[in-house]
Amino acid sequence: MTGALVLSLLNAAVWACVIAMVSLGLTLIYGQLSIINIAHGAMYAIGAISTFYMTAFLGSWAYSLVAGPLIMAAVAVVIYLATLRYRIIGYPMATTLIISYGLMFILEQTLFLIFGGAPRNIPNPLPFQVPLFGRTTYSGYRIFAAMFSLAIIGALVTFLKKTKLGLWIRATSQDHDTASAMGIPVPSVYMFTFVLGSVLAALGGVVVAPMTSITPGMGHDILIDAFIIVIVAGFGSIPGTILSALILSLSNGIFSVFFDPVLAKGMSLAVMVGVLYWRPEGIMRY
């Protein structure tokens, strides 16, 4: 029982790191562009599926860590320029919501046409076990996945705090007009933020690909989890997003030891309801 619980908690912790990274992408895009990115799940799938192809055809999974984000970035630039560019300011929020919904269809169907609907897997690229306390061991890859996600989050935070571009992003988030008046190239910052947010989603898919079965629609459940995490966390709060992801993931992990997975999922969501009630303004105020 304890063994199962520990394992479940570890898995949940790993998952929390990954979903936190994905959710940060979502919160970036919403926080600055006021876009509710319904296509975020599809972007996650793009990451996973590019990883599949990198692994299947180039024989190396490691390439996907770089190629995945690059592919996503290219796609994001194209879709941003084609559809969203002029709709950020002066249009009702519903406009970008519907656009991203349309993008979800386009992206997922394209993935479907390329990849097919049948779930496929890729082999574990780091098939070693890491010894923990006692005689238990844990999947080395999963630990890598968690570390990698945390590293990306850390890089993101550093980037936002310490670089000029990061400063531009933060300034534009707070006040578009003032930022523009200060000489910040706001339209470019918008595009960059969108691309950055998309890449974070795709990285989630890249990192998760060896752990799960890959399908074009794998982003659906992720999307809704990410939304819940982001809103409960309070928009724009990075520590809040991580905490929120931990709460959702760990409660799911704990409950799934004692109850069946579906019920556990429902219960973990109920926990989120509780958090919302306790802190209706979001977990942390930044």
Partner: protein, 318 residues
Amino acid sequence: MSDKTVYKPIAFCAVVAFLVAAPHFLSLFYKQLLIEILIFGLFSLGFDIIYGFTGLLNFGMSVFFGLGGYMVLLPILHWHAGIWTALLICIAACSLFSLCYGCLIARFKSHYFVAFTIVVSMIFFYIAMGQRPITGSDEGLTIKVPALDFGFFTLSLYNTMTKYYFVLAICGLVFLIVRRFFRTPYGRAIVAVRENEARAQLIGYNTRNLKIASFTLSGVVAGIAGGLYVLHLGFTSANSFYWLWTARSVWWTITGGAGTLVGAFIGPAVLVFFEDLISTWNPDFYLIIMGAIMILMITLAPDGIAGLFKLRFSRREK
């Protein structure tokens, strides 16, 4: 007299005439399609009430749709209820549920309201998926749709013509009730909440109660649509609680034109029709084309299709 006031009743009559006459010249397939369009229109109407008229984005409409469906299906399945009874149970259950739900959620503003609605609908999804004996989980439950009992005669809903008029009658009735409601002082007060909640309070409106009332109405309307969908298909499953249903109602309403009531029906009319057209023509690419059409439509008509017409008319007025 402005063009607008002349066009509206004419257009309205034309549409009603078409709807009434339609089953006589449409093929079976298109009759079925039209039935679906009407039901989806009713579902979108539910969303329009809370979003278009009250200004609250309820991204968990699927909970009403799913609940309404099961509240019609279960009485029929287990108690051999007739259609009227089942519908009454559906309405009563959805009213009670929406009222309680509305009271719980009224304290939340903007983003947190949205989050709450998403979470609640997903909780219901997972509960429904988990309770296989009750809900049939993702495989669902099937029923034999009972006959429509009018006392001294009955009609079978397996007759598409009958089913069409039945659905049309209910959708039409609900539409008229909702339209009338938003012309009463209470309905207008709900719109005031959307426009400027703080001010509405300061001219004497209990905005919390207004929001709860609107939320309840929205839930009931969406629930009725869910119930009708069950009567149409004779089937439902836990998937009716999945968030994609909510997304559909959002998409249909916004493309049709939020806050217009007719937009809620125009949306599905255009989009479902297109979807059918394109998917038969090119089953592989149809979602891509649909996605492109959605993007195009919302880009060209940010206020929806109904919004386009309103704009055209008001330009002529000046």
